[in-house]
Symmetry: none
Subunit: 210 residues, 4 copies
DNA sequence: CATGAATGAGGTTTCATTCAT
DNA sequence: CATGAATGAAACCTCATTCAT
């Protein structure tokens, strides 16, 4: 390994360290109330250093989305490339598990997506990062739709456009997370996330079976 | 109408005027980038006036949630008290329409709910407003679950807890809106919201039928 | 009594009502934290009405000084014009009592004087009010010095300029009030004002006797 | 000198720089009319920087009191620990000189003390600062009373509680300053402060001698 | 005369970002 | 590369004052 290579790795390690700290701080305080100084402290670095690795606060925040989408893509690719025989219910179950793992990997995922929608935020991103985000989103949707495509072709699933079905998986997942979290307003500490996700996927599974 | 009454109405009218302006500004610029001055300008009022009607920015924002939840409750009550014979698919369809109308009434609904989750935000609200929010949320969930209760008793729906089913309706709705909005990242201007919602409810309807 | 006269009295009554309320509010909250609305509420009037009787907040505040100085002058005049024989210690004791009564009449007196010193405050006053203030201050000083003049002429008091002695009475009074109030910082609730004033005047009395 | 030490000193220097500027601005414009921006400009710093050294405006203001009380304590300690023989009149004269120097060191001292009395102000202070203020006040009073204690024991002074006598010194000093400043209302530019202080202490000295 | 809703200037404070060391 | 003190723009919010009713 050359010295160049080692430097690059060291740099990547530092980026990850910052992102881990940022994830923690953002999830506790929300985007606005989280300050760059909070994140710097959590990462045991100085505020200035953050700017050596991320252009600005919006870009640091958005990078967290990249990370989670990469994880999602990885998992979906495994599932799609799995050689074992297609069994409709199994696939739905595996999809559900992936989505749940994604959530556990970074519960911020949905807040991120919401935040990213603000056009003011997007304007602050470098074109490269924006392109990466789009590419990763599109790819994860395509991977999911491949699964449904297979199910439709086999005659197991109802005859809907596979992208539409992938959309709905995304929607169910997002919705359950969003809804369960907002319910804390009502039932302060209880969290039925996993349970609700299971029920939702069960109903979805029944609904798309022919 | 006494002078007291007229004043009260005038005051309420002004509150609405501010909320309409706030809704517009928040939805264009997002919570953080929207300034109180922006909202004041949109309402054709001075910044100080806003504070005569709302304690602070968080409370103005949260009041928008009250408004939409009131609308939702109204619609759900109509549906629940409807005398006509129970037909499972019809009810699901009506529920879907209500949720869509709610969205059209105020597309901010979900952003609001997300924002409200921040405990820093909740701390800024008056106890009264917080209590109203909880009460309205709880009530809308109860109304929905009544519909499912009826369907379960008739043997039309699968045997799940009606509140769990109501949760899932909320989740599907939230998820579709969230997802479709976040997809603008990929397909900039297209909006398949209504379509996706219909497909999602169709699948949900099939899924909970016995 | 003509209708003109009655109106004038009514107007004066209203002014007093406002000043009483202002005194109460200023003494509880201090000049800055006291708002015109606070005072209006205390006076059971509307904020706008206050401006029918006082040009602005500074002038309302300063009018309180006028009131207390008028009271002081009244008391000093009685003392000076008293026909009974001059007895040095008695006079000192009477002076002390007057000063203490002045404090009880309006404990704000010293805060007022401090506040008035700000040239920004003085600039806001009408020339008439400013002239009244000066006249009343000068007069109270002159009245006091007459007492000392008599004492000096009789050979009871040391040979100092009577105005200087009057200054010192003022200073002792102001100082005791100021100091005892600031001591609340140390001994939270105890207030030895009257005691300290008595000791101070006793020492002063001994000090100016020949 | 380590780098740690140098940084600490640099920080202290900056604090002093701000306090000097604040003292100047507060004494010219008064607490309310003095803005943080004024102070920042006077200190040739930006407004934000002030908040790196002082939590808020009240705390910056109150820190000026700490500074002057420290100076007073230093001087009183020197006097108390002085080995030379006790001569009553000398001690009174030295006390007077100290008080006058304190005033010259920072003429704001009394305005500060007045301002501090507002409970709204005290609420804004950090517990540490508040504790320091109390400790310093208490200590200066104790130091002064030691002097009187000695005079009483020697039979030079009248038999009053030494703390009461210390109170009166404080009161005379406060009162003279307050009164001379408020007299500017009458005799615009003349300032007899030193003269009045001397007369007052002379009388006080005569008054407490046996 | 009295009201009190509305104003809007201006205050305090925060915090993303920069840059000399 | 890393630091962290300093910046300064801009946000929220207050409140003395006005004026239509």
């Amino acid at each position: 390994m050359g010295i160049q290579e080692r430097k690059k790795r060291e740099r990547e390690r530092r980026r990850q360290q910052i992102m881990v700290a940022a994830k923690r701080v953002f999830s506790v305080r929300g985007f606005n109330k989280a300050t760059m100084e909070d994140i710097a402290k959590e990462a045991e670095l100085s505020p200035g250093t953050l700017y050596l690795y991320f252009k600005n606060k919006d870009e640091l925040f958005s990078s967290l989305s990249i990370r989670i989408l990469q994880y999602l893509n990885l998992r979906l690719e495994h599932l799609v490339n799995d050689e074992k025989e297609f069994v409709a219910d199994e696939r739905i179950g595996e999809l559900r598990d992936i989505m749940y793992d994604v959530y556990e990997f970074d519960p911020l995922i949905l807040i991120n997506m919401f935040h990213l929608q603000s056009s003011d935020t997007l304007k602050n991103l470098s074109p490269q990062l924006l392109a990466d985000l789009k590419e990763l989103s599109r790819n994860s949707l395509n991977l999911m739709s491949k699964i449904f495509d297979e199910g439709i072709k086999k005659g197991d699933f109802i005859d809907k456009h596979p992208v539409a079905l992938a959309d709905i998986v995304w929607a169910i997942f997002s919705g359950v997370v969003l809804w369960e979290e907002s319910k804390r307003l009502i039932d302060d500490d209880k969290n039925y996330l996993k349970e609700t996700l299971e029920t939702a996927f069960e109903i979805f599974g029944r609904g798309i079976r022919k």
